[in-house]
């Protein structure tokens, strides 16, 4: 299927960034009963795609993302990232961006970005250089010496994105990264994220509650139902790129958003 000429022993580059989820289930065991959080979820994400997961609260979309990050193990089924399973977090393959609160408040922006490199003992000079590049990519050049409490909500999320990208993983997972931001900042950050995505060619999996954000950002939207979490629809968003504000009021946009909304209303 893929050309074999440029295959390296460890990671076939052609599959770098591909995500495969096969028959994955997740059961939370409590004292009184077992709760099925995810039931037989399968999906395939090609390298470089921007995929958004939406669904009502409790549909297990964040759980699915945590399993892709190696932060949680599925009860059944398999997940592979770039062709290999992910039994524990691997920042070389997967970067994760959380909600606002996950920057270390006692570290400066650049120390936060360097954190994953410091964990594996990368020399200081190399760390600093990589952190500067990552901060530049997210548009925060010159803000490296600030502490998180000296940055706005949007800037903090830029730092988080820089931290997720600093080891240059082919996959970036984002768990409601803009949920805590106000609407205007959220729109700007969406555009910024698309710019960064276009510049780096990462595979992005993005969890959100906002249907508008989902359609605006995505190549593909995966709609999930609640308890047990199942995939109920998988839409291709054919809108041209770059996405613009005017598209939000177009018919094509509205039709996609309506289709997602009908699924969610049914299952909620």
């Amino acid at each position: 299927m893929q050309p074999l000429a440029n295959v390296t022993p460890l990671k076939p580059p052609a599959r770098a960034g591909a995500i495969e989820v096969k028959n994955v289930g997740q059961v939370f065991r409590t004292k009184s009963q077992d709760v099925v959080a995810l039931d037989d979820v399968s999906l395939e994400i090609k390298p470089g795609r921007f995929v958004v997961l939406v669904g009502p609260s409790g549909c297990g979309k964040s759980t699915l993302l945590m399993m892709m990050a190696g932060l949680r193990q599925q009860t059944s089924g398999t997940i592979t990232i770039s062709g290999a399973p992910i039994p524990q977090p691997d920042p070389d393959r997967v970067g994760v961006v959380f909600q606002e609160a996950s920057l270390f408040p006692w570290l400066t922006a650049e120390d936060n970005v360097e954190f994953p490199l410091a964990l594996r003992g990368v020399p200081k000079a190399e760390r600093r250089a990589k952190a500067q590049d990552a901060l530049k990519l997210v548009g925060l050049e010159g803000f490296g010496k600030r502490h998180p409490h000296e940055l706005s909500g949007g800037m903090k999320q830029r730092v988080s994105i820089a931290r997720g990208l600093v080891q240059d993983p082919p996959v970036l997972l984002m768990d409601e990264p803009f949920a805590a931001l106000d609407e205007q900042t959220r729109m700007t950050m969406g555009d910024e994220l698309l710019r960064i995505w276009a510049a780096t060619g990462k595979t992005v999996v993005f969890v959100t509650h906002s249907l508008t954000e989902a359609v605006y950002l995505a190549d593909e939207v995966i709609v999930m139902s609640a308890r047990p979490g199942r995939i109920v629809d998988h839409l291709q968003v054919q809108l041209p790129r770059p996405r613009t504000y005017e598209m939000l009021s177009g018919d094509a946009f509205g039709a996609l958003r309506d289709r997602i909304w009908r699924h969610i209303r049914k299952s909620a």
Binding site: A69, Q88, V96, A101, A118, H147
Partner: protein
């Protein structure tokens, strides 16, 4: 007028009142000797006060080492492991409500009336709030931070050193502040009750012979000890916790220092 200036004025006013009220005879010298008389009394017996201060300081330093070292260590264990927490916390919390000073006579029976019984009493006295604050500090660490560290591949020991400890510093420091202040109280009170040396002993002895200036000279000395301790803690806080603005730990910190954890004396 700025609040700072006003504060200085109030302090200066109080000092002036301290001098003036007894001198004009509005308050009898027995109840409140004038500031100058107090300083003079301290000065003439400087050697005696110096020796007493050395004894008290020695007891305070050792008690603080035991109280803070033990409090932080046990607090960290109790705060991070659920099982010991369930076993120990209710006990410690109810123990905290007991006026521990009732145990002091028992300590003198066990350890004599020398420094050992003071150190033992003050250590336990300061230990409880330090431990409770540390445990609370570790528990209030934002789980998102630990999750983020894990997602970046942090091992257990890396999470402890690079996340848990720095995140807990502000609350631990506020525990030290309360615990350390209680250590000073514990040492001085135990010296006042049963002992043969130290500032508390001097205060107590001069009181029995109604020598007010000497009593107040001792009180002043304890006051300076407490102020010096507070300044030292502030300095450490500034050094260690410049970042704490707006974190959950800082909020927990406020609750503790704002009186949620007042000791039962």
């Amino acid at each position: 007028m700025s609040a700072k200036k006003l504060r200085y004025l109030i302090v200066i006013g109080l000092i002036a009142l301290w001098e003036l009220l007894p001198r004009t005879g509005l308050i009898p010298e027995l109840f409140l000797p004038s500031l100058s008389a107090t300083l003079m009394a301290g000065w003439t017996e400087a050697a005696e006060y110096g020796h007493a201060l050395a004894v008290t300081l020695y007891e305070v330093v050792f008690s603080m080492a035991f109280a803070c070292g033990g409090g932080i260590l046990l607090g960290a264990i109790v705060g991070s492991l659920p099982r010991p927490r369930i076993l120990i916390m209710p006990m410690v919390s109810s123990l905290y409500a007991v006026p521990l000073v009732i145990l002091y006579p028992v300590f003198t029976v066990w350890l004599g009336i020398g420094s050992e019984s003071k150190i033992a009493f003050a250590s336990i006295y300061g230990f409880l709030p330090t431990m409770l604050a540390t445990a609370a500090g570790i528990q209030t660490i934002d789980p998102q931070l630990l999750l983020a560290a894990r997602s970046m591949g942090a091992t257990l020991s890396q999470r402890l050193v690079r996340v848990i400890i720095p995140a807990a510093i502000p609350t631990v420091l506020s525990g030290l502040r309360v615990g350390g202040a209680l250590v000073i109280v514990g040492v001085v009170v135990s010296e006042m009750l049963i002992s043969s040396a130290g500032i508390g002993y001097l205060i107590s002895r001069y009181r029995t012979i109604l020598d007010s200036p000497h009593v107040f000279a001792g009180v002043l000395l304890v006051l300076f000890l407490a102020i010096a301790f507070n300044a030292a803690i502030r300095w450490i806080e500034r050094k260690a916790a410049i970042w704490q603005t707006g974190t959950r730990a800082a909020q927990a910190n406020d609750e503790i220092t704002s009186g949620a954890m007042q000791p039962a004396t």
